[in-house]
Symmetry: C2
DNA sequence: TTTCCAATTGCAAATAGTTTGCAAATAGCC
DNA sequence: GGCTATTTGCAAACTATTTGCAATTGGAAA
């Protein structure tokens, strides 16, 4: 359990709170959920459902349960869902209070994923929202290219 | 045929070239392909495969053919594929020479789609690419919010 | 620490989106 | 009009995800 504390900064303190957070919504901290949190906690980039499933110790948990768990955790703000075009959804563990808004640079050859600090300029987004009369505007932004090793 | 000349600016002159463009690759300008181009030419925003299929006159063309046609047209640079998270792919007709790089503002309630002029700052993208040693970097960027009518 | 029940799980089947093999149909060059 | 490579329809396969239901289980209450 303690090992999760040492992962990526954003993930810090996620695991110790999980039981408490689940309890608050009268949800149970079950074996499968724990295992999934552990796997997500080991990586600092979004994992595909397939990757999570195969990393499951002795894959004793059903694939449907992985989907259900991830969905629940997403609703609770514990994980964030990403789509990189090809393939299915990917999930990243979040620390409490983090809304998970950030972006990635993905290698189109080997799918290596780098987390990016930069974001679309806030003022420009406000301008776009205002000009079109839209409210509550956010964005999804991902970069794609060829990583050093694949060049 | 002529009606397509009057669509959205980006689409201008797309249709008259289609036969020629297809011929150049020894492809045929068939009924289904013509019908799909016509449908795409009527709209200035990306259509889902479902939408295209149902707009097909007397839907006499198979869904598989729609997929195959769109795939071919994508490879030939005649249409551009987009993904807005939920649901399947969407396709937009391009004018010759247009690489189709642009973005959208999508209503999360009614899926209304507005085309956006703004783009992620080039210099910032170069910085991101350089810092991580990536080459040939591009990006996908879409905005989501609530449109005036849905507020 | 046992009981109890709502929450959770496994399993299998359903659904959505997309692709593919193959024989029949057809566009466009001659 | 004929010929042939390209295209199409159809059905089946595939991938990603969801759902119904009966059996199981976490954890609050007794």
């Amino acid at each position: 359990m303690k090992s999760l504390r040492h992962s990526h900064p954003r993930l810090a303190r996620r695991f110790p709170d999980s039981a408490e957070q689940l309890r608050r919504k009268s949800r149970k901290l079950t074996g499968p959920r724990l295992a999934i949190l552990k796997i997500l906690g080991r990586e600092s980039h979004p994992l595909s459902v397939r990757e999570i499933f195969h990393a499951l110790p002795s894959k004793d948990c059903d694939l449907a349960t992985v989907y259900r768990s991830l969905h629940l955790m997403e609703q609770m703000g514990m994980v964030k869902r990403f789509h990189f075009g090809k393939g299915g959804a990917r999930f990243e563990l979040l620390a409490e209070g983090d809304d998970g808004h950030h972006h990635h640079l993905v290698c189109t050859q080997c799918s290596q994923i780098v987390e990016i600090e930069e974001c679309f300029p806030r003022s420009l987004q406000s301008k776009i929202a205002a000009r079109n009369g839209f409210k509550a505007v956010t964005h999804k932004l991902e970069f794609f290219g060829v990583c050093p090793r694949c060049q």
